[in-house]
């Protein structure tokens, strides 16, 4: 396994009176795509939000590329090189596609060559460049959300359930996009419930339940082991497909 880009050690997160993460230990290897699986309410989204500093860990430690980000503010974490695609996509509806990407680029304008690369697998964004993002379809919004996260090279990409509610054709373009990102050795932590989508993409997998990591290892190991799938996810591989 490659060296860790991100590691969470004994991370606890409370939201109000609720104790959501109850000692998460997770390692995201550099240059690999790690999939975080688990049932609804297992704590996957909370894990991503805790990494981004949107909710702070009440205990434990988060180390990103050698830097302790346990108490860091969200903008600092973003500037350190982590991009985040939330479950609701976080698109600015009143802004155009161009303006959404302009904000993410942080420089005056996005890099033209990188934009062309993104347009290669998300052509709709090119087509609707000056269109208000609020008028895009759900799939196009997801494309924009991911494009916004990769419009500049980032060290780590956090993506929360990108296929949720999307048509198969759109999911296919997301697979192409993630393969492109993998080819560029982008480190990705992908939260997903669609096992069929992630089984061919993931290098490593971690499974959450009740706010803890209950399994971690190579994706191939889980993909080939129906009993383990049954035990960890409650469903066999076939039913996910």
């Amino acid at each position: 396994m490659s060296e860790a880009m991100l590691s969470l050690t004994g991370v606890h997160t409370h939201i109000g009176q609720y104790h959501i993460l109850q000692g998460v230990d997770l390692t995201v290897p550099r240059g690999e795509l790690t999939v975080l699986l688990g049932r609804n309410g297992a704590g996957k989204t909370t894990t991503l939000r805790t990494i981004m500093g949107l909710w702070h860990a009440s205990r434990g430690a988060l180390l990103f590329d050698g830097e302790d980000i346990t108490r860091a503010a969200t903008p600092h974490i973003a500037c350190a090189g982590i991009a985040y695609v939330p479950e609701n996509m976080g698109i600015f509806s009143d802004l155009t596609v161009r303006e959404n990407l302009l904000l993410a680029a942080r420089a005056d304008e996005p890099n033209a060559a990188r934009l062309e690369w993104i347009f290669g697998f998300f052509p709709a964004l090119k087509k609707f460049w000056n269109q208000a993002a609020g008028t895009l379809s759900g799939g196009q919004k997801q494309m924009l959300a991911i494009a916004r996260a990769i419009v500049e090279p980032r060290k780590l990409l956090l993506v929360d359930e990108p296929t949720k509610g999307l048509a198969p054709a759109i999911i296919q373009s997301l697979i192409v996009a993630f393969r492109e990102l993998k080819a560029m050795e982008t480190t990705i932590l992908l939260v997903e419930q669609n096992f069929g989508f992630v089984k061919s993409l993931g290098d490593t997998v971690a499974v959450m339940d009740d706010g803890r990591i209950v399994h971690s290892g190579p994706m191939a190991g889980l993909a080939e082991n129906r009993e383990l799938q049954q035990k960890l996810l409650g469903l066999s591989l076939d039913t996910h497909q």
Binding site: L103, A112, F119, W129
Partner: protein
């Protein structure tokens, strides 16, 4: 770095985001409906210009407040303090410079007024900065506490005005060049109202350009919609908020100077008194929407002027009735901001 700007092709597949025109049409429809009721064209012109002038001043006072709410969900009931402080601060320049104010020279009048406005905006901007740090910052995300503590802040500010300037009203006469009216046909239009309209338009255009043509404006618009995501993109929204709060306070100070000259009398409670209208305006306009705030301010002021002339007995409740009508039509206000 240059940008690739793809050709806008085949975009017919998506619905175009069209300009939402009905709220814009309300203003001319209201004015046209008022004309036969008023009966006299010159009176209608006078009332309409007075309404537009009043609306512009309310817009200047309200625009910062609506952005502050939109960006950080902060309910600042102390915003009126900046209006009062701005007006009273202007007296520090205008009263000692009575010579320039009373001179029969537009340039000297403008110079005195310009200095007064600059000082008022500087002082209210600094006061806004301190107010945000001391009063608002400890109660982020707690609306009830925000209401209580910001109202308390306004009471303290009013009492401080009494301490510094005394408890009496302070007369603030208009500069010589801005007094009187010009006649357009048979309609008499006060010069100062035209100036208020011009200043309001300048502020609106400036805000429009900043919000739509600059990166800061882009961040503000994005922050109003989803502040958390702006932070996740690496921007410190708190700094942005402090900047908007300071700018909003300075604008309230400018509004206070204009309002004080309009009333020609200053009281410590003048900011608190106008806040009822300011809140109606930002609710009607759609919380966080500058465009809605602009339309809402003009609407509120026109209704107040027309109702004051046509039915003085209902003038006091006319704006409440207007708000109820608008909210029945558009419960989120005229131009609601798409919130996360």
């Amino acid at each position: 770095m240059t940008t690739t700007t793809p050709a806008a092709t085949a975009d017919a597949e998506l619905p175009r985001l069209r300009l939402d025109t009905p709220p814009l049409l309300v203003l001319p429809i209201l004015a046209l409906l008022a004309l036969p009721l008023i009966g006299s064209f010159p009176t209608w012109v006078t009332l309409t210009v007075a309404g537009l002038a009043m609306g512009m001043m309310i817009f200047i006072m309200a625009s910062g407040l609506t952005l502050v709410f939109g960006l950080m969900d902060v309910l600042n009931f102390g915003h009126g303090a900046f209006v009062s402080v701005g007006a009273f601060t202007a007296t520090l320049v205008l009263l000692p410079m009575q010579g320039w104010m009373q001179a029969d020279s537009v340039l000297l009048n403008l110079a005195a007024l310009g200095l007064a406005v600059a000082l008022a905006m500087l002082v209210t901007g600094l006061l806004g900065w301190a107010f945000e740090r001391v009063v608002v910052m400890p109660v982020y995300g707690q609306h009830l506490k925000q209401i209580l503590i910001t109202m308390g802040g306004m009471i303290v500010a009013e009492q401080m005005i009494h301490v510094v300037w005394g408890p009496d009203q302070i007369p603030l006469p208009l500069p010589t060049s801005f007094r009187g009216a010009i006649l357009v046909g048979d309609a008499a239009i006060e010069k100062y109202r035209l100036i208020a309209v011009a200043v309001g338009l300048i502020v609106f255009v400036a805000m429009f350009l900043i919000l739509n043509r600059t990166k800061i404006g882009l961040l503000i618009r994005a922050g109003v919609e989803n502040g958390e995501m702006v932070e996740a993109l690496g921007y410190r929204i708190r700094r942005l908020f402090v900047g908007v709060f300071v700018a909003g306070s300075a604008l309230a100070g400018l509004g206070g100077v204009l309002w004080g000259l309009y009333k020609e009398t200053l009281t410590a409670a003048m900011g608190g008194d106008i806040m009822v209208l300011v809140f109606i305006v930002i609710i009607i306009g759609g919380l966080g929407s500058v465009g809605g705030c602009f339309i809402g301010a003009l609407l509120v002021a026109l209704v107040a002027n027309y109702a004051g002339f046509l039915a003085p007995k209902i003038a006091l409740v006319s704006n409440i009735l207007l708000m109820v009508a608008i909210l029945l039509w558009r419960p989120q206000g005229l131009y609601p901001v798409a919130k996360r």
